[in-house]
């Protein structure tokens, strides 16, 4: 019982930290561009502001548009229940890594449909590009999870985390690192980061993710933005927990937990910094150059699997 309570606390922490992580990334990007940047708690204020605003719904839209924000939020919250962040406890029996992939797919399915619902060209563009990017990155994600499954013999994220964390350095090898690299590219692809998509662009012709949110306003927009922030947080957490979870608390004791929390925060910051660096130093790729990068991610994941069998 206490385990589940702890898992709930962990989920709550993840959900609460999500906007803060986005704020930190924006602040780091600003610093690298020699700007002061918005305060790191700004996303919270933005969400609160959106919640107070009225919304305008397109008259061409159907029941799908109204349903989508809630479905996205629901799928992200359920996904957050399945991810161990600083302690190897979660509602793991509900689902494993593959279920996580499909929960994210659920959110994306609804979002892409809602984008088509308003009947605007930009929405259609965002929807079609999003489906392209997700189709090309899915094999890479699943193969990198396959590598992890090969190394640990399980796909349940909790078991993976605890097995890797308690095995010392023996499982670190080219396979794990290559799979981590492939998954990192997947983080960028799935969360609309440069070089796949620009999350802060205002030019509709360059949008993928933003274009799908174009028609939303008020509370709906708040929910969709929040879901995206949670998705980024979850992806970064999964990257650490599934591939390099050292530092996570494997036993429920106070010092272990404290250490786990601190290391988790450090890890979040580390990947946030890397993402900020990448976003500030690279340009967004043209849409039809994306297959180069995404096939590269697939090859990385495939090499990871091969390294497991060969080496």
């Amino acid at each position: 019982m206490a385990d589940y309570l702890l898992a709930l606390v962990q989920t709550a922490v993840l959900l609460a930290l999500a906007p803060l992580l986005t704020g930190i990334i924006r602040k780091l990007k600003a610093w690298m561009q020699s700007r002061r940047g918005p305060p790191i708690f700004q996303p919270y204020l933005d969400l609160a502001k959106l919640m107070r605003k009225g919304s305008v719904v397109s008259q061409d839209a159907s029941w799908l548009t109204s349903l989508t924000p809630y479905v996205c939020l629901a799928s992200m919250v359920v996904a957050a229940l399945l991810v161990p962040a600083f302690v190897t406890e979660s509602f793991g029996f509900l689902g494993d890594l593959i279920v996580l992939v499909y929960l994210f797919a659920m959110a994306r399915f609804f979002m892409a449909l809602a984008a088509l619902d308003a009947g605007s060209t930009f929405g259609g563009m965002g929807s079609s590009r999003e489906m392209l990017v997700s189709s090309l990155i899915e094999p890479a994600i699943l193969l990198s999870f396959f590598t992890v499954a090969l190394l640990t013999g399980t796909t349940s994220l909790v078991s993976v985390t605890s097995l890797l964390a308690t095995s010392g350095a023996s499982l670190i090898g080219p396979a794990l690192l290559l799979a981590f690299a492939a998954f990192f590219i997947a983080i960028l692809a799935e969360n609309a980061r440069i070089p796949i998509d620009n999350p802060s662009t205002h030019l509709e012709l360059t949008m993928i993710h933003e274009a799908m949110l174009l028609e939303y306003s008020g509370k709906d927009l708040a929910l969709m933005e929040y879901s995206s922030m949670v998705k980024l947080t979850l992806f970064i957490t999964i990257a650490w927990s599934a591939f390099l979870p050292w530092g996570v608390a494997t036993q429920v004791t106070a010092p272990d937990l404290a250490l786990g929390v601190i290391i988790f925060l450090v890890k979040l910051l580390a990947l946030a910094l890397v993402i900020a660096i990448i976003e500030s130093s690279m340009a967004k790729l043209r849409l039809f150059r994306l297959p180069n990068l995404l096939t590269g991610a697939f090859i990385l994941a495939f090499l990871a699997v091969m390294s497991y069998f060969v080496l």
């Binding site: 090898g173 180069n292 090499l303 069998f309 080496l311």
Partner: protein, 218 residues
Amino acid sequence: MAEINLNLINGLAAMVLLAAFILVATGRLRTMVRVFAWQSLALGLLAAAVAYSTGYWHIYVVAALTIVLKALIIPRIIDQIMDRIQVANDVEPSVRTPSSLLIAGGMAILAYYVAEPLIQSGETITAGALALSLAVVLIGLFIMISRKKAITQVIGLLVMENGLFMAALSLSYGMPLIVELGVFFDIMVAVLIMGVFVFRINRTFETLDTSFLRRLKD
């Protein structure tokens, strides 16, 4: 200790293969040269690690030669050639990047499939790297086939040689020192000659596109 060493060797071998893939994926000549330099560096460190764990001193010599020649001198020469003829930085592939990446992946599978029985019979500590080195050789050949510029063909040949060296390392701790020295000398001469040829090709055709060489047939 031995386990760390083994992991290190495997990691370096994987890096050599990864560098080969990056060579296939990149679209710029300067990047290709630099990645090749890093690949040779990784290979040299791999040889050093092998030498450390087996104690054969002649592998140290070979490792040092690899690093000096292939990671430092040859890239410098190629850079100078490129500066002199002011070649455009674009690699002109005849097979586009995603397809060439997938073909390179297929080569890796082929190499693994072919090398598997050999791995079982090998007794050296780097047996697993044999499949990777065969893959590197095949990918080097593929680079030579699928890119049009003359400089990329040079690099492809050098990558093949890297792969062969790694294969020799993984099977039998390198070839006898004399053979290694001979191979290195041949590589140097080959690069110098190719430099001259590239210069002449550029002067004759105003381009490095080797498909123009077909005109010599007329």
